[in-house]
Amino acid sequence: MFLGLVKPSDGQALVLGVPTGDVEIRRKIGFLPEDFRFYTWLTASELLNLHGRLCGMTTARLRERVPALLDLVGLTPHREKRLREFSKGMLQRIGLAQALIHEPELIFLDEPTSGLDPMGRRLVRDVIRAQRDRGATVFLNSHLLSEVEITCDHVVFMKEGEVVASRDLRALPHGEIRVSARVRNFPPKAVAELARWSTNAQLDGERLTLATGSTEVLPDILRHLVAAGADVFEFAPEKLSLEDLFLKIMGEDRGL
């Protein structure tokens, strides 16, 4: 929808400040479809040249960019090979290169590491980081949550087309830690003070739950509970990976 492939049934959205579907704004957007397919009779160099020309790039600029990108994705030795001879992993790499040919500000990558071996996955991670470092925004759509955890700054979970949760992964470099405690005589006003170390602190009867980004703050939280006059019967921190978070948020597998 952001790229104008699908029309919205209702409402409108803006991409880089202009409504979706705007043709000119696509000069600033790169896209790698999930199952990248292209004319298999083209060679790797020809494919990049074609995409560059479609993005309005000059021949002189392409002469510089095409070899650089082939080098970036490790396909220089295969530059004159036709795409029909490419493996799935090589197609993913050339697809990534075409998405970056015009140095876009905004890049959508749909499952960029599917079909890649560990070396290829590392390459994609490095490329994404390099794009981020030069100031581009990369949207990574993936079901490989370990990749997301390593690569992304911010994660959004979507279910049936709606955002159900989001996390700032920079604040959670070691994953999220959920604490479940059983406390008595803990004054409700002291719950709010837990925001110094944690998020989403809630007291339900004797059950106190909260989330934090580091194990380092756990002693401070415990001291705070005791100092506030609470009797602590149970204090159980649980470290959640992004995958655990995903399962908790999405619930049971319903074959989606």
Partner: protein, 276 residues
């Protein structure tokens, strides 16, 4: 600019995937066969010392057969090569990498259309030129208004191409092929019904034929092309596959051009509106 890039890549695809060369090789084989037939017939007439008038009429009819075959080959080649171009790319997802570039969808469609139109024009020119050369150099006969006829056959092919593009924005490759071939078949049989009606003075048959030509004017354009090529003597025959008993009028040609333009506009509009 985007449309020209797409036209170029479409033409290159045809050349690279050997579609064009295979079609031209098949055309050459046809020309060789046709030339051989024309040679033997001309040689026979020379030996038999038949009157020049008979020789001319028979060889002219052979020439018409040749053009008829060229027309059929050109239409079939047009459908077979273009039937997959939109529906196939939409189904496989190939179109996604193109449609997300900073070019409008109409440029994608028109570019592809221009690429195919160029290919079809080259094919029609080569085949028409080939048959005309065989007729002139081997049989000593020439069609009347060869250029006008060639342009009409090109119009017929472009019409079929546009219809194939239009339905390609809606249907799968297979369904598209069935629809376009079905429509051309309807036009073909409608043309025959019209001719039989005209030859037997049955106005209702003629009406049925005209209506079928309005639904799909491709065959009517061929019949106009055939009419343009014939000598006045051949035209006087009331009924044969190659001498038109009821030649479509120029209004039908204008109708076909309008039909093509409307179909192209619909194709562009629907391709622009649909999800990819």
């Amino acid at each position: 600019m985007g449309a020209w890039i797409m036209a170029g890549v479409t033409f290159r695809e045809a050349a690279r995937r050997k579609i064009l060369w295979t079609a031209f090789l098949a055309g050459l084989a046809f020309l060789a066969l046709f030339g051989t037939g024309m040679h033997f017939q001309a040689e026979h007439f020379t030996r038999a010392s038949l009157p020049p008038f008979v020789r001319y009429q028979v060889l002219s009819t052979m020439l018409q057969v040749g053009f008829y075959a060229v027309d059929l080959l050109a239409v079939v080649m047009t459908i077979l090569t273009s039937v997959d171009v939109l529906s196939g790319e939409i189904a496989s997802g190939t179109i996604q990498a193109i449609a997300t570039k900073p070019i409008s969808r109409w440029q994608v469609l028109i570019g592809k259309w221009v690429g195919f139109a160029g290919m079809v024009a080259a094919y029609v020119a080569a085949m028409f030129g080939g048959v005309t050369a065989v007729g002139y150099f081997i049989g000593g006969v020439l069609p009347r208004h060869a250029l006008v006829s060639a342009l009409l056959v090109l119009l017929e092919c472009l019409l079929v191409l546009t219809i194939t593009f239009m339905f390609g924005t809606w249907f799968s490759t297979l369904a598209n092929g069935v629809i376009v071939l079905g429509l051309h078949g309807l036009a073909f049989i409608g043309g025959w019904i019209e001719q039989i009606g005209a030859a037997t003075d049955t106005p209702r048959l003629v009406t049925v034929g005209v209506v079928s030509s309005l639904i799909m004017p491709s065959e009517a354009i061929w019949r106009r092309a055939s009419f343009e090529m014939q000598s006045s003597f051949a035209r006087s025959f009331r009924f044969s596959p190659f001498s038109e008993a009821s030649a479509p009028s120029l209004a039908m040609v204008e109708y076909a051009i309008a039909y093509l333009l409307v179909a192209l506009i619909i194709a562009v509009y629907h391709f622009d509106q649909r999800d990819l």
